[in-house]
């Protein structure tokens, strides 16, 4: 029986990394991710469970909690929950027990590509890519938006550190957009 080897969204056997001037753009593949949507009337209960999992308050509207297990808000009573791939590859099975039917969990791990971007002046870099109010997207905030017609999440963990999560099929186009924007620096 053949052995199946994984590839990254950009098609590499190991995550791809680019350095463009002062910017580092790195493919991140070691996270498993699941959507967590509260069942009817279970919003508060699910927030309590998330708080327990994250060991910090569950993200409010537009919020992002970084950490060993992380979560960001994606909609009304809906979050993405992410954890180390090696430990949580079957992330839905890993967390189904603790949510006890109070939330619907759906595996999202391979639906997305994820790029970590570090460097100066990320507000201006991101302003070339999308129309969200970057000055309002401070550390601990997340927003869904459109980058070059690609629906993405933008997460901010620090002034000089952000993550862009986009659909896996468009990884090449999204990477090209970020790379091109970074090449425009200094703005």
């Amino acid at each position: 029986m053949p052995k199946l080897h994984a590839v990254s969204p950009l098609g590499y056997t190991t995550p791809h990394k680019d350095t463009v001037g002062a910017y580092a753009i790195s493919e991140v593949t070691d996270w498993a991710m699941a959507s967590v949507t509260a069942r009817k009337d279970c919003g508060a209960a699910v927030k309590t469970i998330l708080t327990k999992i994250l060991k910090q308050p569950a993200p409010e509207v537009g919020g992002y909690c970084a950490g060993e297990i992380e979560a960001f808000w994606t909609g009304q009573s809906q979050w993405m929950l992410a954890a180390a791939f090696d430990e949580y590859e079957d992330i839905v099975a890993s967390f189904a027990g603790i949510f006890k039917g109070k939330a619907s969990l759906t595996e999202q791990t391979d639906g997305w590509c994820r790029f970590a971007i570090t460097g100066p002046d990320l507000d201006r870099l991101c302003s070339l890519l999308c129309n969200i109010d970057m000055r309002g997207l401070t550390a601990g905030k997340a927003s869904r938006t459109s980058i070059e017609h690609i629906g993405c999440f933008v997460l901010r963990s620090a002034d000089d550190n952000m993550q862009i999560i986009g659909p896996r099929s468009s990884a090449g186009s999204l990477h090209h957009a970020i790379y091109t924007a970074a090449k425009s620096a200094p703005f």
Binding site: M1, H5, V7, T37, K40, G111, H149, S169
Partner: protein
């Protein structure tokens, strides 16, 4: 050219547009142009002023109460004919500047449909007094045409804005400026000439405007569209008022009664490239690649764009010189043994919650409440107006968990529609939705050897025999030694077939594993063309049939629309107009002479009837060469088609000069009883 342009060239860019210039005007400001040019050393041949009381000059000749009635020269101007009270005069010139006075820049005040008002004293349109909230206009834009008046207006308006903001402004001194004359007397066009140019960009003449009037295109909006007046890049800045005045004069009414068109952005002509930015060529829009893309490229696949997706159309092999050879081989191989096709692009929506089944009952016209866990069912989704919207398969993974597929093209729209139903129509249902299209790499494995192929991939702990995993079964499995996967026994090709899904990161490895496993059976990969051929042979509807005009009844699925429940579109699908005896029905078509094609888009006519729209009986939606049958086949819609099997009808395509006989047959060309599916 415009006199104001001559002045700008001279004052701003030190450029003289000619060495001997005449100016034809009806206002004092044009005399300033002549004065400026003279000061800069340009010879002024004459200023021709239509007004009897024109200002005099010591520096150049002014011809009062005069008009330019003709020009001479080719690719340039040599001389002009001037009608003066003393008679006709010819004047040698190298350029003629014309000036009709200034119009206020009222464009911004029109962007929210403000209607400019005619100011008779100014002979121009000024901003409407009914301005949008928080919009103030001052200066020349507000009809204050001299510097001093503009300064005064600016101060007055600033005070008003401050007061409206709740402030108590100190009074401001108005800066002192010279108050040059801006006197103007309307003069709209020269009579008695053959052609008088009105719109210099679009070459609209006085004659054109009179013709518009004669043809009854008299409203300003009609005048504009009939003549193209004001539709060039200057958007009528230099010609609109002139044109309206001529129309008013011709119609014997005032300019106020005639009215004006209004403006939309942009004010300045904007190059499309500025708007496009980096969105050009291959960067025009993103590309979506399937998990097998890299492998398909290595095989030399020919790709087709489906929305943003790139899908492999066919996989040419050595010696194949025509696409049909590749496609025919892929179909024949699949039907004879086994074929593998990437179907990842189909939309997948995860539906969970205590009311998940009840929700799908609302969304699909057919029933889902009684679907067993571990089973898949075909679902047809209607728009609320009763027209078919999309179709797919819904697999029940648990009592409260389904995964629904949509067509590639409609994935986004169907998700939006389902969210609308969930949030707006039935907000208290316990149902949660999320797209999982890209999480899974999904491959169809079709053909008599499909199960044999999968036995080499699926871990032995899972029994995929016909008894344990029958037609329409679904379930979670593992493959290749423990990789999580989902298996669905569904078939688009009409063969014994499965769709197998693995997390996308394994998609590249999976296609290689499936194709390698298939080689033992002489199998191959197939692309979207072979997929299309096989679904036409099987008579399955696809986008060409779900074309936004067809109902379940037309598609031969009328009885699927349940009357036992309230699903979207069910009520309006039963309207009289959609359910007549002569309603279109999906049929198969085969040529009477086997060498004839049956091209999509052709129309169907009863034999012997006239060939015209009135006698139209239907049309061909999907067509292909069937390697299985050895001739062309098609499916399409025919009035009362289900009752006309065996009838010979006329296939016509006047556009391509095709006209021949075809036989109406069942749309299920291959395996009509479905024995292969269940094998």
């Amino acid at each position: 050219m415009l006199a104001g342009a001559m002045r700008a060239y001279a004052n701003r860019w030190a450029t003289a547009v000619g060495d001997r210039i005449a100016i034809f005007a009806n206002n004092d400001d044009a005399h300033r142009t002549a004065h400026d040019l003279h000061q800069l050393g340009v010879e002024i041949a004459a200023v021709i002023d239509s007004r009897p009381e024109a200002p005099k000059s010591d520096n150049f000749e002014v011809l009062a109460a005069s008009e330019v009635v003709n020009t001479h020269g080719r690719l340039g101007i040599n001389s002009i004919d001037v009608k003066t009270p003393q008679g006709l005069r010819q004047i040698q010139v190298s350029a003629l500047g014309v000036s009709g006075g200034w119009n206020p820049n009222i464009h911004l005040t029109c962007h929210q449909r403000g209607r400019p008002e005619w100011d008779a004293a100014l002979s121009a349109f000024v901003p409407s007094s009914d301005l949008p909230k928080a919009l103030y206009v001052a200066g020349a834009a507000n009809g204050k045409m001299t510097t001093a008046a503009a300064m005064q207006d600016a101060v007055t308006t600033a005070m008003k804005i401050a007061k409206d903001c709740g402030l108590k402004p100190k009074s401001l001194a108005v800066p002192k400026t010279s108050d040059e004359s801006a006197s103007v007397t309307p003069f709209w066009y020269v009579t008695g000439t053959e052609r008088g140019w009105v719109d210099q960009q679009n070459d609209v003449t006085v004659k054109d405007i009179k013709l518009a009037h004669q043809e009854n295109f008299r409203s300003v909006e009609h005048l504009k569209r009939y003549t193209t007046l004001g539709m060039a890049t200057d958007q009528g800045k230099t010609s609109n008022v002139l044109g309206l005045a001529i129309m008013a004069h011709t119609a014997g009414q005032s300019i106020r009664e005639t009215g004006t068109t209004i403006y939309r952005p942009p004010y300045s002509p904007t190059a499309i490239g500025v708007l496009a930015g980096r969105s050009r060529d291959m960067d025009f829009r993103p590309i979506r690649k399937t998990p097998s893309h890299k492998w398909a490229e290595e095989q030399g696949a020919v790709f087709v764009e489906v929305g943003m997706w790139y899908r492999a159309q066919w996989f040419p092999r050595a010696g194949e010189t025509h696409w049909r050879q590749s496609v025919d081989r892929e179909v024949e191989t699949t039907r004879a043994s086994v074929g593998v096709c990437d179907v990842t692009t189909l939309g997948k929506i995860d539906v969970q919650g205590a009311d998940a089944a009840a929700f799908l009952n609302k969304i699909y016209c057919n029933g889902f409440a009684k679907l067993d866990v571990g089973k898949t069912r075909y679902g047809l989704m209607l728009r609320e107006d009763g027209i078919a919207m999309d179709d797919g398969a819904a697999a029940r993974l648990a009592e409260d968990h389904f995964v629904v597929t949509t067509t590639t093209a409609n994935a986004v729209g169907v998700y939006r529609h389902m969210e609308f139903a969930r949030q707006v129509l039935w907000p208290d249902m316990d149902v949660q939705l999320i797209s999982t299209t890209e999480s899974w790499a999904q491959y169809a494995v079709a053909g008599p050897n499909a199960r044999n192929l999968l036995r080499k991939i699926v871990d032995a702990t899972f029994d995929i025999s016909n008894e344990a995993f029958p037609f329409m079964a679904c379930g979670a499995i593992t493959v290749c030694g423990g990789v999580r996967a989902r298996l669905f026994r569904i078939s688009f090709s009409g063969e014994l077939a499965y769709e197998i899904a693995v997390p996308s990161r394994y998609g590249d490895a999976m296609i290689r594993a499936l194709v390698a496993a298939g080689e033992d059976f002489g199998g191959c990969a197939y692309g979207t063309e072979a997929l299309g051929v096989m679904r036409i042979e099987k008579g399955h509807a696809a986008g060409n049939e779900l074309n936004g005009t067809t109902t379940a009844l037309n598609l031969g699925m009328g009885r699927m629309v349940s009357t036992q429940k309230d699903s979207i579109g069910a009520v309006l699908s039963r309207r009289d107009g959609l359910t007549g005896d002569d309603a279109l029905k999906l049929v198969g078509l085969k040529p009477c002479r086997t060498s004839d094609p049956v091209p999509a888009g052709s129309h169907l006519m009863t034999k012997g009837s006239p060939i015209d729209a009135k006698h139209d009986q239907g049309y061909v939606t999907s067509a292909c060469y069937s390697p299985t049958l050895g001739h062309h086949i098609a499916i399409g819609f025919l009035k009362s088609g289900d009752q006309r099997l065996g009838e010979i009808v006329r296939l016509v395509s006047p556009l391509t000069n095709i006209e021949h006989d075809v036989e109406v047959v069942s749309a299920h060309f291959v395996d009509p009883e479905g024995d292969k599916l269940r094998a």
